[in-house]
Subunit: 417 residues, 2 copies
C-alpha cells in the first residue's frame, strides 16, 4: 500500500470513528450482539475459510502448536460469540464523569471519558482476536484497523465479513472494523507512520513484531516491551503455596508474557525450600539455572550468568537467585524486571504491603500467580493487549483503557483577566 | 553530552525517583515548602544571577517582550514561592485507589495511582517554570530533569541551587530536580532518545521546539501539536457575551496556544453581529480575514484562503467564516481544529450539549473564553504543559496527570487454570 492509499483507507476509518463517537451506548452494544449472531450464522463459511488456512499452514510446514492456535471449530466459534456478548453487556465506558469541580473563576469543569479515535492493532495467529478487538473498539466508540497473521488471512477475512454485515444491519459504518487490505510488513510500517490519521497502534505479539512497530511508529504506541516477571518467596512464605504458584507461573504456559522467568528466594528458607522446589520442577521437566548459593543446595544445575537475570526465556527454563531479604529482592526486580507482573509469596503483612507499594510494575501480586495478568481474568471481557507503558493504558487493556477524556467547561460569559 | 554521560546523569535521577516513590506524601510536601523558603532566603543571589542574564540578553538584542518574560523581581520571586506553597498544599496524588473489585478467581484487585518515574521537561525563557515543574514532579513522586532556555541559564542555575538545598535539608536526594548540565539542542536530542532511563519527555514551547523533540523522541512524549482554537457563535448566542469573549479569546494574549485563530458564526446572525464585531476588533487593531460571506457584510477585509483555516497565527489576526449551523461548525472544527480548546457561545441547551459531546478536543467550552485552558486557572496549582495527546495526559497537566497507575492484586494462593 502506498502512503496515499493508506491515508484513503484511514480517512474512511476516521469518518466511521466520528459516527461511533456520536452514537449512543445502546446502539454500540446492539451492534456487538448482532456481530455475535452473524458469527454464528456464518459458522460454515468461517470454518471453510479456516480449513483452507490450515491446509496452507500444513503445506508450509507450520508446527502443530501453531496450527492449534489457528484452528477454529464449532466450539471455538461458540466461544467467540459468547465473548462478544460478554463485551456487549459491559457498562458503557464513554461519557463517564470521572471528576468535576467549580474553579475560582466559577467555571464548572467536568472530566468526561471519550473515545481515542482510530486504533490499529497488529496481532498474530489466533483468529478470535479479530472479533475480540473489533468488539472492544466498538464498545468504546473507536474504529478498529486490524492486521492479523498471514497464516489466518482467509479466516480473518470471513470473520471481517460477518462483523461488517452486522454493522451494516444496525446502520453503523462497515469501516468501524476493517482489516488492513495489505498484510505485508511494509504496510504495517506505513500504517505506523500515519500520525493525524491513526490515533494509536497496538502491536500484540512477539518481541520481533513489537520492535518492528516501535521503530516505525510516529503515532502513540501501546505495548509491552518484554515480560521478565519474577516470583519472590519471602521468608514468611508458606511452602505448599509457594510450590503451587511457582509451578503454575512458570510451567502452565511458558510462552506467555506473564509467565515468570526468575524466582527469588530469601536466604533463611533457601536450604529448606530449594531442594523440594527443584524436585517439583524436575517433574515438570523445567530447566533450572541458579546463582552460586542455589547451586550450593541444589546439585547438578547450570550456573546462571548475568544474561539470565534479564532473559525472557518464553520456554520451560527458570533462573533462581537467593537474596538476603525484601530489600535485595526489590532492588533485583528494579534492575531486571520489565514492569509487567511481579509477585511475592508471604504471610508477613508488612512485607507484602512494601513489595506492592515499591515495585514499579503494571501488576503486582501477593500470594497469586502472575499468570492472571490478562483482560479476561481481570474481568474486562477480553483485551486489546497488555501494556508496560506508563503513559495511558498500563496492564491489560480493555474498553476503559481504550478511552481518553476531555474537559467540558460550562461558563456564563467568563473572560480571562 | 555523550550518550554515556547522559545515561550516568539519568541513572542518578532514576535512583532519586525510586526514593521519592517510596517517600510518604508528607515528606514530599514538606520538601516543597522548604523549596519556597529557600527561594525566598536566596532572593538576592537569584536576582543577581537574573541581572546577568538580562544584561546578556540586552547585548544579544533580545526584544523587550522577551526580556520581560525573563526578568525576575522581588514581587515575582514572592509569586514563585507562593506558587510552591500552593502545590505543597494540594492533596497527594499518589496511592489513590481509583478502582477496586473482586474477580471471578476471587482475587482482590486495586487500581492505585503511582509515579511515572523520571520526567524531562524542555521549556523556554520564563524562569518560574523551573520551580513550578520541580515542585509538580516532586509532589507526584517523580524526578524532574529540567532544561530551560539558554537566555535564563544563570537564573535557572541559581533557582536549581535553592531547590537542591531544600531537598538536602529534608533528606531527599538533590537529584530529584536537576538541570540538564548541557543546554544544547544536541543534548536535548540525546535526552529524548533514552528509553529505559527517561520515562517521559514534555517539550513546552513553540512549534519548532516541539517538532525537534518529536523527531528525536524514543521515549513517550506529551505535547500539544498546535493550538488552532475556534470560537463558534451559535444563532442563539447573546451578542454582548459573544463580543466580550471573542475579544478576550483573541486579543488578551494572542501568542498563547489557547487563544482563538478562527471565529465561526451562524448565517442567521452574521448580518447583524459581524459588522459590530468587526468594529470591536478594529478598536483592538485585530487584522480580520474573512470568507466570501463575511466580506459581503464587512467591507474592506482581506479574503481568507484555505491556509487561513489551519493557521496558528499566534498574532493579533483572526479568520472569520460564516457557517450554516451547528453541523457545519462541528465539521469545520473536526477538519481544522488541533484538538486543543474549542468554544461555543449559545443560549440553546441542546446546541451546547451537542457541541460539547461531539467536538474531539482536550477542552470544550460553553459560554467562556478558551483562554482558561491553563493549569493555574483549572485549579491545578501550575502546569507542566498542555497536552493534545489522547494517550495519557490530555489538556493542562498537573500533578494527577504526572501519575500512572498499577494494579495491586491480593490473592490467597490462586493459580491459573
Amino acid at each position: 500500500m502506498t502512503e496515499n492509499e493508506m491515508r484513503e483507507f484511514l480517512t474512511k476509518a476516521k469518518k466511521a470513528a466520528r459516527i461511533l463517537a456520536a452514537a449512543d451506548g445502546g446502539a454500540r452494544s446492539r451492534a456487538i450482539v448482532k456481530m455475535a449472531e452473524m458469527i454464528e450464522a456464518r459458522e460454515a463459511a468461517i470454518l471453510a475459510a479456516n480449513a483452507e488456512d490450515i491446509e496452507a499452514a500444513r503445506s508450509a510446514g507450520l508446527t502443530e502448536a501453531m496450527i492449534d492456535r489457528l484452528a477454529l471449530s464449532p466450539k471455538r466459534i461458540g466461544e467467540i460469540a459468547r465473548g462478544l456478548r460478554e463485551i456487549a453487556a459491559l457498562r458503557d465506558p464513554l461519557g463517564e464523569i470521572q471528576d468535576g469541580w467549580i474553579t475560582e473563576d466559577n467555571l464548572k469543569i467536568e472530566k468526561v471519558s471519550a473515545p481515542i479515535g482510530v486504533v490499529g492493532v497488529i496481532y498474530e495467529s489466533r483468529p478470535n482476536v479479530t472479533a475480540d478487538v473489533a468488539a472492544l473498539c466498538l464498545k468504546s466508540g473507536n474504529a478498529a484497523v486490524l492486521k492479523g497473521g498471514k497464516e489466518a488471512a482467509k479466516t480473518n477475512k470471513a470473520i471481517e465479513n460477518a462483523l461488517q454485515a452486522a454493522l451494516q444491519a444496525v446502520n453503523l459504518p462497515a469501516d468501524s472494523a476493517a482489516l488492513l487490505p495489505d498484510g505485508s510488513r511494509e504496510a504495517v510500517a506505513v500504517l505506523a507512520r500515519q500520525s493525524g490519521y491513526l490515533d494509536l497502534i497496538v502491536p500484540r505479539g512477539g518481541e520481533a513484531l513489537i520492535k518492528f512497530v516501535s521503530e516505525h511508529a510516529r503515532v502513540p504506541i501501546v505495548k509491552h516491551d518484554k515480560g521478565v516477571c519474577h516470583l519472590y518467596l519471602h521468608e514468611s512464605a508458606d511452602y505448599e503455596m509457594s510450590e503451587k504458584i511457582a509451578i503454575n507461573a512458570k510451567v502452565q504456559r511458558p510462552s506467555a508474557c506473564n509467565a515468570i522467568e526468575t524466582l527469588l528466594i530469601d536466604r533463611r528458607i533457601a536450604a529448606e525450600f530449594l531442594p523440594r522446589l527443584a524436585k517439583a520442577f524436575a517433574a515438570q521437566k523445567t530447566e533450572l539455572r541458579g546463582c552460586e548459593e542455589t547451586r550450593g543446595v541444589v546439585a547438578g544445575i547450570r550456573a546462571a550468568d548475568e544474561s539470565d537475570w534479564s532473559a525472557e526465556y518464553l520456554e520451560n527454563i527458570l533462573a533462581i537467585r537467593v537474596v538476603s531479604g525484601l530489600d535485595e529482592a526489590i532492588a533485583h526486580i528494579a534492575k531486571f524486571g520489565s514492569g509487567h507482573s511481579e509477585a511475592i509469596i508471604a504471610q508477613n503483612y508488612a512485607a507484602i504491603e512494601r513489595f506492592l507499594a515499591e515495585i514499579d510494575a503494571a501488576c503486582v501480586y501477593a500470594n497469586a500467580s502472575t499468570r492472571f495478568t490478562d483482560g479476561g481474568r481481570f474481568g474486562f471481557g477480553a483485551e486489546v493487549g497488555i501494556s508496560t507503558n506508563k503513559l495511558g493504558a498500563r496492564g491489560p487493556m480493555g474498553i476503559r483503557e481504550l478511552t481518553t477524556y476531555k474537559y467540558k467547561i460550562y461558563g456564563a460569559g467568563q473572560t480571562r483577566k
